[in-house]
C-alpha cells in the first residue's frame, strides 16, 4: 500500500515546503497478519462500487491559464476540451486590452461516455502586459489562496456539507512566449512563486514560430533555467512513489515544457478532418506529434494525470496552506493575511500595492505577505 508522505525539513530554498519521504509505511498502523484466502470472496467488487459512486457524483477540475495576451491561451483551452469554452479573442477587434490584471473564470459541465466533469477555467488577461509588471503575480496568488481559504473554512465548520465543493486550482498552465532564447525574469519570478502553491505546467506557446531544432534548444535552455532557479514544475520529482511512476514521469519531465500550438478550426488534410492552423506554407496539425506536442499536453492534463493533479493539490498544497494558516492564527488572532469573507461593511483600503482595490481589501494584503514571506 503506497502513500505519499510528507517529510519535514528542507532548506528554505526548497520550492515545496515539504517533500515526501521514500517510505510508504502508514502512521499508527496496527500489527497485521497476512492471510491467504482459499477461494473467491469478491473484494475486488469494491472497485466497481467506487466507479459507480464516482460516476454518480461527477468530477471537478479547475485549471488556470497564465500568460501574456496574444499567446493563444483561450484557443488552447478550447482545443484541449474540444469545445468553445469562450470566444477566442482576435487582436484589434475592439476588445480593449485590460489595463490591469483581471481574472476571469468560467465553468462548464462536459460529459463524455457517462462521465460528467465540471470544468472551471480561469483566465488571466492582462498578465505581464503593463510596462511595470512588478507584483503582477499577486492577484493570481491571492486568487489561489482564496480558494484554499474557502475550502478550509468549509472543512472546519461544525456542520459540514457531505461533499465540499472544490474550487481550488488544480493546475496552472503557464505560457512561455516563443522567444527562442531563455526564460525572461518575469517568467522566472512568477514560476518561482507559484510552483510552491500550485501545480505548474509550463508550455511554449505558439510553437509554430519555431523550427524543430530551435524548439529543442529552447527547451533545453528552459530546463536549465528551471534547474538553476530551483523551480519544480509538475510532475514534481519528489512525489514519485515507485519505480513505475519515476520512469513514466521522467519521460514527461524530459519533454517539459511542451511546445504547443492551439487551434479550433478544422481543415481537411488528406481526406481527414483535423484541427489545425492554415498558413500559406502548409497546415499545422495540432494533433500530429510531428508538428507539435499538443497531444502530450492533453494526455498529461486529462487522460493520465488529472486525478494525480487533484491529489497533489489536496494532499500537499492545500495541507501546506492549512499548516501555514493555522500556525499563523496562533500568533495573531487575525493576522494581516486573514481573509475576511463576510461582506465587508466599510472596507479599509489595504496597503497591498499601488493597484489595490478597496474590496476585497485583505486578499491583496495576503498576497503581499505571501511574497514577503517568500522573499
Amino acid at each position: 500500500m503506497k502513500k505519499r508522505q510528507k517529510k519535514n525539513g528542507g532548506s528554505p530554498m526548497d520550492p515545496l515546503r515539504q517533500s515526501p519521504s521514500r517510505s510508504s509505511s502508514r502512521a499508527s498502523s496496527p500489527r497485521t497478519l497476512p492471510c491467504e484466502m482459499l477461494g473467491y470472496v469478491g473484494i475486488e467488487a469494491v472497485l466497481d462500487q467506487l466507479k459507480i459512486k464516482a460516476m454518480k457524483m461527477g468530477f471537478e477540475f479547475n485549471i488556470m491559464v497564465v500568460g501574456q495576451s496574444g499567446l493563444g491561451k483561450s484557443t488552447m483551452v478550447n482545443t484541449l476540451f474540444k469545445s468553445k469554452m469562450w470566444k477566442s479573442t482576435m487582436p484589434g477587434l475592439g476588445v480593449p486590452t485590460p489595463q490591469t490584471l483581471q481574472l476571469q473564470s468560467v465553468t462548464h459541465v462536459i460529459e463524455e461516455s457517462g462521465v460528467k466533469l465540471k470544468l472551471t477555467v480561469t483566465d488571466t488577461p492582462g498578465f505581464g502586459d503593463q510596462i511595470n509588471n512588478d507584483k503582477c503575480w499577486d492577484p493570481i496568488l491571492g486568487y489561489i489562496n482564496e480558494q484554499y481559504e474557502h475550502y478550509l473554512q468549509e472543512e472546519i465548520l461544525i456542520t459540514r456539507q457531505r461533499h465540499i465543493p472544490d474550487t481550488r486550482v488544480h493546475c496552472c498552465v503557464y505560457f512561455v512566449p516563443p522567444t527562442g532564447h531563455w526564460l525572461r525574469p518575469l517568467d522566472i519570478e512568477f514560476l518561482q512563486r507559484l510552483c510552491r502553491t500550485v501545480n505548474v505546467v509550463p508550455v511554449i506557446a505558439r510553437a509554430d514560430s519555431l523550427t524543430i531544432e530551435e524548439r529543442e534548444a529552447f527547451r533545453h535552455r528552459i530546463q536549465e533555467n528551471l534547474k538553476t532557479h530551483g523551480i519544480e514544475v509538475y510532475p514534481q520529482k519528489c512525489f514519485d512513489e515507485d519505480i513505475n511512476d519515476k520512469i513514466l514521469n521522467s519521460k514527461i519531465r524530459e519533454r517539459i515544457p511542451f511546445a504547443v500550438v492551439g487551434a479550433d478550426r478544422e481543415h481537411i488534410v488528406n481526406g481527414r478532418c483535423v484541427l489545425g492552423r492554415k498558413t500559406k506554407w502548409g497546415i499545422i496539425e495540432v494533433e500530429n506529434m510531428a508538428h507539435c506536442e499538443f497531444p502530450l499536453l492533453r494526455d498529461l492534463l486529462i487522460r493520465s494525470h488529472l486525478q494525480d493533479l487533484k491529489d497533489i493539490t489536496h494532499n500537499v498544497h492545500y495541507e501546506n496552506y492549512r499548516i501555514f494558516r493555522l500556525n499563523e492564527s496562533h500568533v495573531l488572532p487575525r493576522g494581516p493575511g486573514w481573509v475576511n469573507l463576510a461582506p465587508a461593511p466599510a472596507s479599509v483600503p489595504a496597503p497591498a500595492g499601488p493597484q489595490a482595490n478597496p474590496s476585497p481589501p485583505k486578499v491583496g494584503g495576503w498576497a503581499k505577505d505571501n511574497s514577503d514571506e517568500e522573499c
Binding site: M1, R26, S28, P30, L33, P34, M37, L38, Y40, V41, G42, I43, E44, V46, L47, Q49, L50, K51, I52, K53, A54, M55, L80, K82, S83, K84, M85, W86, T100, Q104, S105, V106, V109, I110, E111, E112, S113, V115, L117, T120, Y143, Q153, I156, L157, I158, T159, R298, R303, L306, Q307, I323, L326, S329, H330, P333, W338, A342, G353, A356, N357
Partner: protein, 437 residues
C-alpha cells in the same frame, strides 16, 4: 457560447471573478477529449492506496462469530482464541492483510468477548460504545492536528457492526434491544440470526417478522442498503426485505457432486452454507462485501463520524456562528480556549510556587527552633560541667588543705615525738632511777 467576461472599469485593479453559480452550462464536445478515463484514474489511485474495512462482531459467547468471519472471507484467521476469564465485556481486535487480484484490503475484525456472560448486564454495552467512540476520537484528533497525515492514516473506525441474535425463535432479548439502540447512531448495525440451522423454516419467517417489528417499535435504526443508485437499487431493495439474515458459518468442507462445499453435518442431514435455500449466508456476503462495502464506508464517514464530530466540537464549546457571525470562529474559540488554558496553567504554577515558598519558610523556622534548643542545651551542659569542675576543685582544695594540715600535724607530732622520746628517754631514765631508788 459566450464567455462570462467581467465588465469592470479599467480602474479596477483586479476585479474579482464571478463565482460560477450552480446553473452552469453544459457544453457539447466536438470530439473525443479523453477524460472518460477519469474513473479508471481514480480507481488506480485507490488501488495504490489500498482499502481498509473494519467489522465489529457483537454477540453472546458461542454464537459463532469467529466461524462466520472465517466463512465470509474464505480463510482461517489466525489469532489467539479469546480467553473468557476476564470479568466484564472485552473487545478483541485483529488486523489482517488480504489480497485479491490487484486489490489489497486491510481487514480489521473486532469481536466482543464475554458479552452476555455477566449476571448484571446493564453495562455490557458500554465497552462497545466506548471502543467505537475511541476510534472516532482518534480520527478526529488526527484531523484537527496542524500537521496531519490524513491520506496516510489507517482508518480504524468501524464500518459495519454485525449483531448476532441468538436463535431462540421467539423474540429479541432485552439485552439485544438495549445494545442495538445504543449502537444505531454510532455505527451501521446489521442484525443477523446466528446458528440459524437450529430454527425450522416456518419458525424462521415468524422470528424475522417479530424481530423487525420489535426493532421498528423500539426505534432502532438498522442499516438499510442504499437504493438511490439504479444499478444496485433493485438488488438492495429485495435484500432489505430479507433482513435480518439468517446465517450459518462453517469451515468444514465436503464433496457434494463434484465440488467442495462448506457444510455442517448432522446425523439427519447436511446443511450447506452456500445454498440459498438453506440459509442467507450468500445474501449476507453479497450485501456486505460485493455490493455495499463502499457505501458502508461512506456512511460511516459522512454520517456517523460527522455526527460524532459535531457533538464533540459542540461539547467543547465551538459554534459555527457567533452573534457577530465571524467566519473563522472555530479558530478563534480555539485560540481563546488555549489562552484560558495557559492562564490556568500559569495560575497553578503561581500557586505551587507560593506553596513551595511557604513550606520552605516553615521548615526554616523549624530548623531555627531546633538550633536554638541545641544551643541552650549546650550552654546548660557547659554550665553543669563548670559547676562540677568547681565543686571538684573545691573538694580538691579542701582535701589539699587537709593534707597540708595533716602533714603539719604529722611533722609536729613527729617533732614532739622525737622530743618526747628524748625527754622520755630521760624521763624513763628518771623513772628507772626512781624505781631503783
Amino acid at each position: 457560447m459566450e464567455a462570462e467576461a467581467n465588465s469592470g472599469s479599467p480602474e479596477d485593479s483586479w476585479a474579482f471573478i464571478q463565482r460560477p453559480g450552480e446553473g452552469c452550462r453544459t457544453v457539447p464536445l466536438a470530439g473525443h477529449v479523453g477524460f472518460d478515463s477519469l474513473p479508471d484514474q481514480l480507481v488506480n489511485q485507490s488501488i495504490s492506496q489500498g482499502f481498509c474495512f473494519n467489522i465489529l462482531c457483537v454477540g453472546e459467547t458461542g454464537l459463532g462469530k469467529s466461524t462466520l468471519m472465517d466463512t465470509l472471507f474464505n480463510t482461517k484467521f489466525e489469532g489467539e482464541p479469546a480467553t473468557h476469564t476476564q470479568p466484564g465485556v472485552q473487545l478483541q481486535s485483529n488486523t489482517y492483510d488480504l489480497q485479491e487480484s490487484n486489490v489489497g484490503l486491510k481487514l480489521t475484525i473486532v469481536s466482543t468477548v464475554g458479552f452476555g456472560d455477566q449476571i448484571n448486564k446493564e453495562d455490557s454495552y458500554r465497552p462497545i460504545v466506548e471502543f467505537i467512540d475511541a476510534q472516532f476520537e482518534a480520527y478526529l484528533q488526527e484531523e484537527l492536528k496542524i500537521r496531519r497525515l490524513l491520506h496516510n492514516y489507517h482508518d480504524s473506525r468501524i464500518h459495519a457492526c454485525l449483531y448476532f441474535i441468538a436463535p431462540t425463535g421467539h423474540s429479541l432479548k432485552s439485552l439485544d434491544l438495549v445494545t442495538m439502540k445504543k449502537l444505531d447512531s454510532k455505527v451501521n448495525v446489521i442484525p443477523i440470526i446466528a446458528k440459524s440451522d437450529a430454527i425450522s423454516k416456518s419458525e424462521l419467517t415468524k422470528f424475522k417478522i417479530k424481530i423487525t417489528s420489535e426493532l421498528v417499535s423500539n426505534g432502532v435504526q438498522i442499516y438499510q442498503f442504499p437504493m438511490d443508485d439504479e444499478a444496485v437499487a433493485e438488488v438492495n431493495g429485495t435484500m432489505n426485505a430479507h433482513l435480518p439474515f439468517a446465517v450459518i458459518g462453517s469451515t468444514e468442507e465436503l464433496k457434494i457432486g463434484n465440488k467442495m462445499v462448506k457444510v455442517r453435518q448432522y446425523p439427519w442431514g447436511t446443511v450447506q452454507v452456500e445454498n440459498e435455500a438453506h440459509c442467507d449466508f450468500v445474501k449476507l456476503r453479497e450485501m456486505l462485501i460485493r455490493v455495499n462495502m463502499e457505501d458502508l464506508r461512506e456512511q460511516t464517514h459522512s454520517r456517523h463520524y460527522e455526527l460524532y464530530r459535531r457533538c464533540k466540537l459542540e461539547e467543547m464549546g465551538f459554534k459555527d456562528t457567533d452573534p457577530d457571525s465571524k467566519p473563522f470562529s472555530l479558530q478563534e474559540t480555539y485560540e481563546a480556549k488555549r489562552n484560558e488554558f495557559l492562564g490556568e496553567l500559569q495560575k497553578k504554577e503561581e500557586e505551587m510556587r507560593q506553596m513551595f515558598v511557604q513550606r520552605v519558610k516553615e521548615k526554616e523556622a523549624e530548623l531555627k527552633e531546633a538550633e536554638k534548643e541545641l544551643h541552650e542545651k549546650f550552654d546548660r551542659l557547659k554550665k553543669l560541667h563548670q559547676d562540677e569542675k568547681k565543686k571538684l576543685e573545691d573538694k580538691k582544695k579542701s582535701l589539699d588543705d587537709e593534707v597540708n594540715a595533716f602533714k603539719q600535724r604529722k611533722t609536729a607530732a613527729e617533732l614532739l615525738q622525737s622530743q618526747g622520746s628524748q625527754a622520755g628517754g630521760s624521763q624513763t631514765l628518771k623513772r628507772d632511777k626512781e624505781k631503783k631508788n
